[in-house]
Amino acid sequence: MFENKESVSYGIDSSVWKAIEKAIEKNSYDSIFVLLTFLRRVYSESITNLSTIHFQKYIFFPAAIYRLIYLHKENNADLSKIQDFGFREIPLHLKEVISFDMNFNYRVVEDKVKFASGMGNFYYWAFNGFGRLLYFQIKFEDVKSFRNAINQLDQCSEEDSVSYYNLDTQLRIEKSKKDNEREIEFLKHKINAGKAFRDYKRHTILGIKYWGIYLFKKDRIKAKKLERFLKFLNPQNNDASDLLKDILFFRSGGVIHYMGWQGWDYKDRVPGKSHTMPSPWQWLTEGFFVDQIRNNTLYVNLEEIRGQDIMQVKTLVESLSDCAKELKNHFEKWKDVLLTPTVEDFEEKSNKLLEAFRVVERKTIGFADRELANLPLSPRKIKEFRDLIGKAWESHARINLIFKQFGNLAAVKDPKIELHKYGFRLFFEKGKKMFVDGDYFQTIYGMEQKGGQVARGEDSQFFIDISEPEHQETSSTSIIQLIEKSIGQLKGNGIDPTLILMSPEYSYKDEGLLNDPRFNSKVGIDNTQPFFELGSFDNIPIFSSYSSYLNNSILVCDFQKAFFKEFRQNRDWYNNELWVEVTKVSDEDAKARFDAEPEKWSTNENGEKISPEDALTLIKTSVIIDIFTIIEYKILDTDAYIIGKLR
């Protein structure tokens, strides 16, 4: 653990630990007693002062003392007195810290509310310390001490564990009264602390149980020995209704540093050699599966599962299927632990379990959809989306950039003047998850392409608009000749071309153009020019566009003389130009869509029939996206431009 060297207590912990080592080495019962008393006083003072800075460090001392005594015992038979004392007292101390020190302090502290709010943290560290002790005991296969420790753990109680419902009732009564916010706050914290106590206690037991199973998998413990440990961790210790919730929690990201499990290892490693520690995520899942096959305790309480956990069910089913395959492949090794005499029995149990989970998966997907359908859209996420689309549009809308470059454009403020709307309205199925806050948020990649799509459409519209009226046209078989002819024709009409527009591929593919001395390429050379300026031909700038209309055509023109652009502006749009709006599907919209395509919406993604109500819910997990620009291209002079066609 990191510790600040400048802390006033720096070094005290190692000094105390050295004293413990000496006391064990010297077989000094009295010294150990004095040191354990010191530890108890540290715990008690930490709780009274609501400070975990020392508690979270010293709470691991009992487990470390146990380990040290055990290791010394192997070389020194005279340690029996200290061993008996240590093995008996250590779990007792931990139990007393949890059951007495914490509960007693409720009565003596001045600020009950503050105290109750901090209790959860102490419970976490205390059970973490207990878990560490059990980890060593199972590692040393010390069944006797393990039984004693589990007994003490079972006896750990929080003050109001039996009266949880009383607290709840008390809270309701207090809420009905006036001017007792502090009491209400206290009761709320106390209820939370009680919940934390029960969760941590249960997780400590489950953790050690699943770890024992993992040790068996790694051939670190024999089946019979494992059975002896597991029988102390009997099912009545756990509330079956919490099992699903627990396994989903164990598999979530937050469990990486939970209960110190990341540091549990099944063998002593050689220092200096790299190795991978067992992943808690993996052994907890495997342990869970084996435990379920042994006990069939699963009871799915869907109502208590929320958000991210629901998403985890799908991956859990996959992991459990993998576990089932592996156990089946090594059935001979596992059959005693699984309590299934034949592979058929095992398959029956495992299929039943997996099927139960698949039901959960299906149910939870519906549940998740229901929650998602009711969530409001997040303005922040919509803004992020608008910026994403806007940036893509900005870089692709090249005709717009050329107008800006030449300055022949103007915003139209008069609402009576009608302009064209370019873009699209998209019904984005299951797209709502991209626009909500919280657990259901999910990024959908590639959406920025929609911005590029609108931009290309806008460019294409420009070419459609300029192709419609009577205009000059020419054709040739090579790009150089086409440019020369177009320029010549315009110059013949007394027009000095200011722009050549062509597809970007000519700038690197057409040898004729590349080798012509009049062509001056700027690609990758002059970064001060707009990125879509390919260079110049005879000092006339060449710009590019991705529009498909330029695939076999070029445009040569006096841009300012030939064209003008009018556009609508709005402060709420991206860059005041691009209208991006995301709206949720209303009940009426959903119904209209369902009525239009009942067949499509009555089947879910697994091909199963769903009710009309569920179908409406599914529709409401979609959103409507509008992306538009409102513009009008005006042709000022048809003689000022020429379109060249490549034959």
């Binding site: 006033v8 000094s15 105390v16 000094s28 003072e45 930490s46 002062n49």
Partner: protein
């Protein structure tokens, strides 16, 4: 007296911490008084005691306190007395040293730390310095018997010497009383305990002051529009493609010093005088050892001018790094050794004493961090 300087960041933070951590701080005047006393009684102050003694002898001719004027002496008698007084004091000091030697050899805990504490707590150094200074003065007075023509002045010097001898007797009494306490092991343990708590409190105060100063200084720099000279900024500056010259490399290495105090209003004035360029600031905090005290604000492009460096170094109050850094934790180190020793010898009763002290230190930290 930092609490008198309104620009002092240390004074400002200490004032705030006094309210928040009441148990950790004494009354500011009492604290100042104790600091002065501690300095006065330290073993390095031999010269001060010497000067003070000479001053007492010198001032005697101007002092006219009625109830001290009951001694009347003629110069002839005074000349006879001075040698007597000198030999009296010499006898007293030899006896005193012998007795002290005896007492010290019977001290309950015979350890260097206990001896050090004994010398500090008993004020032995100060008393001995005073006795020696008095002897020196009396010898000089004796030698000047023919030189000092003014009878009144000479008699006054002899009378002052007599009073000093009486005072020495009183001080020796006090000294014995203090040293005798060291023959009782329980009293010594209690003293050790108090020393440890005192040390922990001093260090904890320094830590709290340092922590509070980090927040204040960073906020101040950020609000002044300066940019943190972070690792990425440093990397950027060292980038050969970046436009600014890398002046950091050229910086002359200064001897690291500890920041004792910072004057933020003065720094504010300095920042306001700067041109429109953008500036970086480097992390500063009280009690931090730094070697950039003349360069803690510098432009993003280029480097500080020499005159600016001079100005900057004046905005901080610096102190030398103590030679032994572990001196801050000398009592704790002693306790660590003792616990190891007690556990080695199975002295569990003695271990209890050390652990009690440890617990008090931990509680002190729990309550204040």
């Amino acid at each position: 007296m930092p609490f008198l300087n309104t620009n002092s960041l240390r004074a400002q933070i200490t004032k705030e911490l006094r309210i928040k951590h009441e148990s950790l701080f004494d009354n500011p005047y009492k604290e100042f008084y104790n600091q002065c006393l501690e300095k006065f009684f330290s073993k390095q102050q031999w010269w001060l005691i010497g000067l003070l003694t000479i001053f007492i002898f010198w001032i005697s001719r101007f002092i006219n306190i009625d109830f001290l004027n009951f001694i009347t002496l003629k110069k002839e008698s005074a000349v006879g007395i001075v040698d007597q007084r000198t030999s009296n004091v010499a006898t007293i000091i030899s006896m005193t040293i012998a007795v002290i030697g005896f007492l010290i050899s019977n001290i309950a805990v015979k350890e260097s730390f206990a001896y050090r504490l004994l010398f500090e707590r008993s004020r032995l150094y100060t008393v001995i310095y005073f006795i020696l200074s008095t002897i020196a003065c009396l010898i000089c007075i004796s030698a000047l018997r023919e030189t000092i023509k003014d009878d009144f002045i000479y008699v006054r010097l002899i009378i002052t010497g007599t009073y000093c001898v009486v005072l020495i007797l009183f001080l020796i009494g006090l000294l014995f009383r203090r040293i005798i306490r060291f023959t009782n092991s329980k009293e010594i343990q209690e003293m050790f305990h108090n020393e440890m708590i005192k040390e922990a409190k001093t260090n904890l105060k320094a830590i709290l002051i340092s922590q509070a100063s980090v927040t204040k200084i960073t906020t101040f720099f950020e609000e002044s529009g300066l940019t943190d000279y972070s690792l990425s900024a440093a990397m950027d500056r060292l980038n050969p493609f970046s436009s600014g010259p890398s002046e950091i490399d050229k910086k002359n290495q200064l001897t690291p010093m500890i920041v004792d105090d910072i004057y933020l209003p003065d720094i504010d004035v300095y920042i306001k005088q700067l041109t429109n360029k953008e500036y970086y600031y480097r992390n500063l905090s009280l009690e931090k050892s730094v070697d950039y005290y003349d360069d803690f604000i510098f432009p993003k492009e280029g480097a500080n001018l020499k005159k600016n460096k001079r100005k900057l170094s004046k905005l901080l109050n610096l102190k030398k790094i103590p030679k032994k850094h572990s001196d801050k934790y000398k009592v704790r180190t002693y306790f660590e050794q003792k616990l190891e020793e007690f556990s080695n010898e199975n002295k569990y009763k003695s271990m209890e004493g050390v652990l009690d002290t440890y617990l008090e230190v931990l509680v002190l930290e729990m309550k204040n961090i």
